[in-house]
Symmetry: C2
Subunit: 288 residues, 2 copies
């Protein structure tokens, strides 16, 4: 942990999580400077010391980090579409960094992220996770929403959580769905929303059968995942989809999966009678 | 192995594989009797001693097995849709078996199959695999179609085969797709055809990027799978889908994955320049 006096830079893409992180830092009395992605970052971030930059203004970003005496840096937020590299205007600082950046871009998603972190650390900044600034982004072991599980739900939590951990260990995906104690869908590159949609299709086609609310989505981090910059996330859209296809609830890995828009996520789960439980490798929660 | 003199019963659902099995048995000089599922079994089976029965005529099936002095029995063929239980007419023998059959039906797919095998064995018959009668239904280690792999294809075969084995070991699915050395799709309950379609969607949406032919579908048996009655299968539709979405080829587990309609499957793979390779846990085929 670094002292509260040094400035925390929040490099912010889209969504409400960067706002939440900025608020948490401010509430802790920590100076904050926001570098937002122009047109993508939430407008509420303008309430904090900030500058909005475009893709390619890496030189300006570097200047800002130096001017503001930044020590720690958080990279947070969602990017819905990749930048159109043909239309990026690069500033002089970006040109200087270009060989390093291009070397990163050829390596694919995972190595890109690792490379960006290394680049920032090589400049002398420390990359910290959003959950280190706002610990309520993750959940402790136990119920987040709900009070107890049916025996069937308890069994599906166990099957899905175990499978999600194992599949993550193979570096495949982060999420699986179990219905009737059987893994029916495993996430690959399609993402969790598409995974849940697929379960809906399996149900509609009769390949997986259940009535009422049954089955569990489990989501875990991979063992080697860099949680500072790449944390598995659930949010209101996850709860909405889980409830819509008729799954009973969601099991997330305690401390290692982010709950975005937590108040809205929790409210929606309560409204739709969808449980959210945080598990770890100890005894199952509500295992009795 | 039992002697060639005893009658082999082929209990046949749909598709060409039961015909191939009947022909292989006849070619080996073995007496055959076909019990076909009426309206589902291939009409070519009428060239063999046979009787076509409806779902529910279990009593008649049992009579036939006794009358024909059956020793070994093969259960083979595809069932596209489950019988409509409300419209099944059960014969007297089926009524007698009903308690056992109902006990099976409540247990889900896997235990159903295990239960059916046990029921047949308890009657004194031996259940044998179609590949024990027609060994060319499975492939030995090596190329089935193709002569050598690019380095990229070799890498994807390794990643996909390893992941398919591991996912099978977790009792999840039988197939995975790797593109660019990364597992991009894992089979759950949706089946292999839907898995390949999903890879096409991932490509069309830009979530997984490649040009030309790249990536590998791997398919393996689960460690505990009863290969006598439930063998993973590829066929012409698999090859067609793999070629259509632009994957480079297919890796199957040697000896434990069935190639249905082998001549047609091989011809289609050759026409579409799709490799098919059979791997086992020894050194990779064409690993140099």
């Amino acid at each position: 942990m670094t002292g509260g006096g040094e400035c925390l830079a929040i490099v912010a893409a889209g969504g409400s999580v960067p706002v939440h992180v900025a608020e948490a830092a401010r509430a802790a009395g920590r100076p904050v400077f926001v570098i937002g992605l122009d047109g993508v970052a939430d407008e509420r971030l303008r309430a904090f010391p900030h500058e909005m930059l475009k893709w390619g203004q890496l030189g300006r970003a570097r200047e800002l980090l130096a001017e503001r005496h930044v020590g720690d840096l958080v990279l947070i937020g969602t990017v819905k579409s990749r930048p159109d590299f043909a239309n990026i205007k690069v500033d002089l600082g970006a040109v200087r960094l270009l060989p390093k950046v291009l070397a990163l871009l050829v390596g694919g998603d995972d190595s890109l992220l690792r490379g960006v972190v290394k680049l920032i650390e090589d400049m002398g900044y420390r990359v910290v996770g959003a959950h280190e600034i706002a610990p309520d982004l993750v959940a402790r072991r136990g119920f987040v929403v709900g009070r107890r599980l049916s025996a069937a739900a308890r069994a599906d939590v166990g099957v899905a959580f175990h499978a999600a951990r194992a599949v993550g260990g193979l570096d495949i995906g982060q999420a699986v769905v179990s219905v009737g104690r059987r893994v029916v869908a495993v996430e690959g590159a399609e993402g969790t929303d598409a995974l849940i949609e697929r379960v809906g299709v399996l149900k509609a086609s009769g390949r997986v059968k259940w009535t009422g609310r049954s089955g569990v989505l489990a989501k875990c981090a991979r063992p080697n995942q860099d949680l500072r910059v790449d944390m598995p996330t659930i949010g209101p859209a996850t709860v909405e989809a889980v409830a819509r296809v008729g799954l009973a609830g969601i099991a997330i890995e305690a401390g290692r999966v982010m709950i975005a828009d937590r108040p809205q996520t929790v409210a929606l789960a309560e409204q739709t009678d969808t449980f959210i439980i945080a598990e770890d490798d100890r005894d199952p929660v509500d295992g009795g």
